[in-house]
């Protein structure tokens, strides 16, 4: 059906983001956090993450959209289709369970980040050999 032209291959700006690892679970946390401030639509979130992170984070649409769907399935987000200039956007907001989830994951993140930070700054002090024999 397609014409012989690469009509589908819309050589676009590329949604690539080249994130540097360390990111498991972070998209969820960030999306919940951003949406907890105000309702947003998917495309907007993708850009907001880039901007608010100063370009450090850049989760593509292929990461964000499936995540939004998943969070909605879980009942942590709710969506609403909103007409906007003859066009429609799917606007998401955080539900009450979603707020709980955000609180949990944010706390968890701080714990873990602090722990890693501690190890990275551990330097030569706090150098305890692992010869602690189980005393019990």
């Amino acid at each position: 059906m397609a014409y012989l032209e690469p009509i589908g291959s819309v050589r676009r700006m590329s949604t690539r983001r080249t994130n540097p690892d360390f990111l498991n679970g972070v998209p969820e946390l960030v999306v919940l956090e951003l949406l907890s401030r105000r309702a947003m639509y998917g495309y907007e979130i993708v850009q907001a993450i880039q901007e608010q992170s100063g370009g450090v984070l850049g989760f593509g649409e292929g990461c964000v959209y499936p995540l939004l769907h998943k969070l909605e399935e879980r009942g942590q987000l709710a969506s609403q289709r909103v007409a906007f200039g003859g066009r429609s956007r799917v606007v998401y907001r955080v539900t009450t369970p979603g707020k709980s989830r955000l609180a949990e994951t944010a706390t968890e993140w701080r714990r873990i980040a602090a722990s890693i930070q501690g190890i990275l700054q551990g330097g030569d002090h706090a150098l305890v050999p692992v010869h602690e024999r189980k005393a019990g």
Copy 2:
């Protein structure tokens, strides 16, 4: 409790760790950091991660051993089999390329962690990146 257990099925304490996500790439960073202080063997590293993180991190052997092999393949670690009381341990140390790698990933981690921290504390006042500082 049948005593006729197959000899191989050693019902052990289970190496499960139940880490809470947020961890992609972190094992590598932590292993390089710990080894940069002093040479260690695998089993020791697994325990050191738990202890030095105050129990927050707990990467199992199934995570650490393959990681050690991978890092060695990359030339970022070097290993040496060391006899120890009729037993042998594989002791790892960080190579020069490994130290570079550690420096890179540690810097990267700080960038990302700071960014996420910023978003989590962002509230409504938009934080503007302050990387305009430049010597010269």
